[in-house]
Amino acid sequence: MNADGLARRDLYAVSAVAALALAPHALRFGPGLAAAFGTLVLWRLLGAAGRLPLPGRGRPLLSLVKHVIGIGTLLGVLAVHHGQLGRDAGVTLLAVLLGLKTLEASTERDFYVLSFIAYFLVATNFFYSQSMLTAGYMTLVVLIVTAGLVRHTADGADDARASFALAARLVAQSLPLMIIAFLLFPRLPGPLWGLPQRAGGAVAGLAEELSLGGLTSLALTDELAFSVAFEGEPPRARDLYWRGPVLWDTDGTTWRAGQGARGPVPPVIVEGPRYRYTITLEPSNTRNLLLLDAATNTGDAPGRATADSRLLAARPLTSPVRYTLESATAYRLPAITPGQRAQALALPPGFHPRARAFAQELRAASRSTDDFVARTLAHFHDEPFKYSLTPPPLTGDAVDAFLFGTREGFCEHYAAAFTVLMRAGGVPARLVTGYQGGEFNAISDYFQVRQRDAHAWVEIYGASRGWVRVDPTAAVAPERVSLGLNAGLARNAPRTTLDADAAPLRVWRGARALWDAANYRWGQWVLGFEAPQQRALVASLGLPELGRSGLALLMIAALAIGMAGLALFVLRARTPPRDRAAAAYARFCARLARAGLVRRPAEGPRDFATRVAAARADLAAEVGAITDLYVLLRYADAPLPIVRLERRVRNFRVNPR
């Protein structure tokens, strides 16, 4: 079997490359895929070593086995994915078919087929992840596949390093074309491959409903929710309340948005500085467009404002969006409709009897609404309430159990309980969810808000000031609001043994900030380069607005020009200057050419120097000296150090006149 047309070296190379391209998929799909692929490739490799018979001519049984595997995989995948050959099914099929193709690979042609399937596998990874890491890894795999092809094509040349160098050059030369295609390829609305429906709040961020416990899982993930870049000075950390869903209705256990979002958009009375900022929102599969409380101008946000002062996109967000808007952190929201007032006072009948009684008692003892709010907050502060991300489970009536039983919880417990108390005391109140704070990245000057920054707070309505934000969590763990989640937890938890300012930790934090900054730029410039940015680019080129087909034509034209340029470059590079003297002289001539003194191709160096001296008396001496050196080095083979010419050329400047 070793007499086949495929060298064992090539077989090893292509198997390794296929495995590299498949590795991220294997991590996604679990060990089954890797096992299937690995078994097939192992079979082929053992066959090449003569340890196992391979399917092929003269072995009908094994060939049958091969076909059964192939058809079986196809039917199996179709069955699992209910007949739809979508993203996952396609990748699974491709992986198994790649294994089968490796198994039957025996000719030179098979090597090429396998290499090109590997290229395609690289592309499929981007259906799942478009992170910088994925892009980097895939570039590496493309480089390796190309190097394999180079090494295979170069007859007898067994130099892996030379193959890699050539492959790297090929990949580098294709970069301009890639950039053109990236900039001009017509963008399709929405992702090419529908994102899978994600479950609830775990990854997707804030849900439209809240039941006590929902936020816990969220608080523990480090996933990025959105990034914010402020134009100018950012607000104080304690003012960074990022508004998400506003929850009005409760059935005693779960809070929902209800009808509160309906109605006219209320005016905002600004009482302080305005901040302009740009949010890059990660896809959440919800319609929430987060904003800094309270938005005074919704800018180019792709959604509409609601009666409860939030922003809603037209459809769930499945790809990153970027929008710029304006907010003020000192503001008043005076408007309330009768319908909203009714909703902001409603409590489900029969629930939270102890909480209601407590609230009414407290209200009766209070002089005013403000006094009632203050007393309620003081209750949270003075009684032994604890801030914890892992509160004990609540049994029975959740709010009563929390307020009078466990007294241990996080923002959501405090916000829900506080809302119930307010409503029971006759104060209109609504529950607001969103994010609080954010991590400032000094390298790129922006904030990153992660899922663990999720927060819940309350807005109460007073006749004099309108809607006012009250954050009961701040009464229990004020650090949570001013310093962030970890500080809030540290109040209860023992300090970590590692000193927070220790050098390794500082280095780690610095590296992380750098990585985050790079990722942010990646998101802004690469992933965020969507149809609007593309339109802006085309407009900045002075072109009229182009449709998708116009863009495609523009891209093809640009690619053609790019390829022509590349071809010219390659052809020119193929006739290299014969020695360093010639190269130095070429640089010297290029400098003069930029000043308008162009040497004709058939003009001798001395003739050229004479002409330059006649045109520019100020250059005569230096041009003459360099030309003499060049002539001696190149034509007289004079034993002069070449660096003398190179240094003079390097220092040669043509001052514009």
Binding site: R578, P601, A602, A636
Partner: protein
Amino acid sequence: MSPEGTGRVEAGVAAAGGAIARLLAAAEQVILGKPEALRLALACLLAGGHLLIEDQPGVGKTTLAHLLARLLGLGFQRVQFTSDLLPADLLGVSIFDRTTQHFHFQRGPIFTHVLLADEVNRATPRAQSALLEAMEERQVTIEGVTHPLPAPFFVIATQNPTDQAGTFPLPESQLDRFLMRISLGYPDRGAERALLRGEDRRALIARLPAMMDHAVLEALQQQVQNVHVADPLLAYVQDVLAYTRGSPRYATGLSPRAGLALLRAAKAWALTGGRNHVLPEDLQAVLGAVVVHRLRATDGSHGPALGAALREAVPIP
């Protein structure tokens, strides 16, 4: 080469350059306003080649030949080619000497250092080929006896423009035997005025002292051989040859002999400039004189324009 060796060669080259410059300066006193033609003619001689001057009668072809012979201290003969010129008139004849009862070879005018073959295209092809064979072989064979020509041997042939009546144009294969073809052209107004005012050129030449002799000339010719040609210039010569062979502008391309001639002429030209290495400019300076008579342009162009076009068409590598 050791540093001292290099230094000695350079000193020799500088001395040669100085001697050549003085000689040319003297020549320019006689042939007015033609320094380039003079230098080309001298370079041709130093390169050991023969020179063809194609021009109208009366522009100083004969004077040039006479002058060079005089300044270099060489013997000089002039043969007027006519349609009835026989090879024997040029090469010589064997005469039966009655006193010794032996044939005695009577040398013809070709046995000299500088031979001026005037109006070479008026002679019959038979006479022409006798000259050209002698030029190539540098010897004459008559009745089985070979008589070497003196060294150095330098033919300056003049030719009237070929469209004149009663001419036998030299075939291309024979034109190839001339290292260079130049034309003198009419002098410019100032030079002509000086010519008219001055005394007779012949008398002037007769009074000039010889500035070199055989030995010096041979040493110079030896030095031409040693002029350095760097690889890029060989590539340049090859590019020129390849261009004439590939371009549709020429009916035939240049032969390898033309390439050798170009190099030899460029080396001699470099030496007349006091250098022991060839520059691209040296090649360009001799390009027109060396290649134009070996090329036939398809568009009928000839002369300096053809040379200039070729020079501009081939980039210096």
